[in-house]
Amino acid sequence: MRLKIEKYYPLLPVYAAYLVMFLIGRTMPGMWQMVALLAFYCAIGQAFNIFLGMTGYVDFGYVAFLAMGTYGMALGITAFHQTGLGIGIMFIGLLLGVVMAALLSLAVGAVALRLRGAYFAIATIGVNEGFRYFVEGARIWGGSEGIIFYGDMTEAFGAETTRLLSTVWADVAVFIIAAMAAFVTIHYMRGKIGYALTALREDEDAAKVMGINVTKYKIIAFITSASFAGMIGAMAWALKLTYVFPPDVFEIHYTIECIIIVLLGGAGTLLGPIVGALIYGLSKYWLAVIAPGFQLLIFAPIIIVIVVAFPEGIMGLVKRRAKGTGWERYII
């Protein structure tokens, strides 16, 4: 079988953008933190887009999967910190986080994906909040106090490695996850799943009648998206912050940020989440400097205007413009 390399051409601008960001962060002093934040937004945008962009289903409880990743890493480190496995413990934690996120998405998907539209959105909010209050109420995983594992981390990795992990390597991992998510996105889009999900997004009943197993493809996209969220939670939240606190990791505003990023850039496009993440992240950073305390007051009306005026997002517009030109094969 001939490998169709052309179908991966649209990855070039994506990886170019990541490379530029990475180089700016590594070479310009004081920029790493901001670049890390942007990479985080790119990663969650791309991960969220795999499900939302392709299916049109709005998961309002998406942050729960990031929370699973964070808890997975926290539990892995606290359980194995005395085994002397060194950096291997981090991979155990990562694996645990991904598995927990995938299992939760499988459970949610099996029940909630039968619902559509607003009902699905409400059900997923319910799962997110319900899970949070279960953790707090039943006092599992540290209950409402959460887990602080900085001590366990230094015991497992040593002080210097812990510092490097949470200030550098966690962010590098986010770049790698974002790149992987981009690859999976294009792989899905240009494959059978992408065509099935496009049919589903346009008209779910018609797709079903045509013999497409819509449930199967919806769940594949859902689990993929959730697993990436788990990885991001494990690396960007757990390793960086070295604690988990339930009201933080289940905070609905992170889901909203994902939705803003995807919608701003263009749902269902490959470059969209990156464009959205860069615009959102940079303007958030910039507003915090020039108008501290007023960011949300300024953001809210802008979001409303964008939703009303440009529902296709920036890449949706660019894509239409690029149609028929030489750029077409690089932009989806």
Partner: protein, 296 residues
């Protein structure tokens, strides 16, 4: 005595439940007519709470005097938001309407925060209390209960006995058909949204009578989530279904707290929240038309 404790909590739950019901009717009305879930629902309740606070502290009137003001401000807000934003989102994908309504909520929160500050504030309104054999009930809560019941009856009558209400019900049934029969569908949407927001803002007046720690600009989020559970319990599209569901929700929330407190080593408050979301999911899965509205 656990029996007396339970009876007392259930009584308070029923009274609070009526207010929850009224605080949810607007959400159900708007979803029923416009098919838009108002994710920024709670902040509108918060606006009502601040209208009360402003009137009580600035004008020195009793809290009930804020009811007409809150209703009018709510209706005005509803019309403004409808004609500037919601009108364009009625047939938009969920993604757009959910994000826009959430942003509306943030906008309200930030405006209130920048005008009143972010700290908790409150007022006292002591008008005596009723002593029952099993519990003590402040008169202010009795008043809120009575007011809520009246509002629910009023909305029921408006919805079922007036021309406008009938027009809106036909739009809910079949908006194309209603248009053919000469119903002004656009105006029906606008009025439903404005009335829905009006009742929601007004419910904030009643709710302030139940909040001992005071109010703050970010109090709304918790009520958005409660309102979702209640609305789903009531069938999501029926305003008076939401009212009865509010009563049930109040009983469950307060009753289960007493029972969860008996389990050692748990946090009963968080578990009551957990229970409500379990109920939400079960209802959505087995009976999306709600406990009460099961006609179709």
């Amino acid at each position: 005595m656990i029996g007396q404790l339970l009876a007392g909590n259930l009584t308070h739950g029923l009274v609070l439940g009526a207010v929850y019901g009224v605080a949810t009717m607007g959400l159900s009305l708007i979803f029923g007519v416009l098919r838009v879930v108002n994710v920024g629902h709670g902040p509108f309740i918060m606006v009502g709470a601040f209208v009360t606070l402003a009137m009580v502290t600035a004008l020195g009137v009793a809290p009930p005097a804020a009811i007409p003001a809150a209703l009018l401000i709510g209706i005005a807000l509803g019309f403004v938001f409808f004609y500037t934003i919601m009108r364009r989102l009625i047939r938009a994908p969920e993604l757009a309407s959910l994000l826009a309504t959430f942003a509306m909520g943030i906008l309200l929160e930030e405006i209130i925060r920048h005008s009143f500050g972010a700290e908790f504030r409150g007022y006292t309104w002591d008008v005596g209390k009723i002593v029952l054999p099993w519990t003590v009930m402040p008169m202010s809560k009795v008043f809120a209960f009575a007011g809520s019941v009246l509002v629910a009856i009023g909305l029921y009558l408006w919805f079922n006995r007036t021309r406008m209400g009938t027009a809106i019900r036909t739009v809910v049934e079949d908006s194309e058909g209603a248009r053919v029969c000469g119903v002004n569908v656009g105006w029906s949407y606008a009025v439903s949204f404005a009335i829905g927001i009006g009742i929601t803002v007004m419910s904030g007046v009643f709710l302030t009578m139940f909040i001992p720690v005071g109010i703050n600009p970010y109090m709304g989020g918790a009520y958005t989530l409660k309102a979702f559970v209640i609305a789903v319990l009531g069938g999501l599209t029926s305003p008076y279904g939401a009212f009865f569901a509010g009563l049930i929700f109040g009983l469950i929330e307060n009753g289960s707290y007493v029972l969860f407190a008996l389990i050692p080593g748990v946090e009963p408050f968080a578990l009551t929240r957990f229970l409500t979301f379990v109920i939400l999911l079960i209802i959505l899965l087995i009976r999306p038309t709600g406990l009460l509205g099961a006609k179709k």
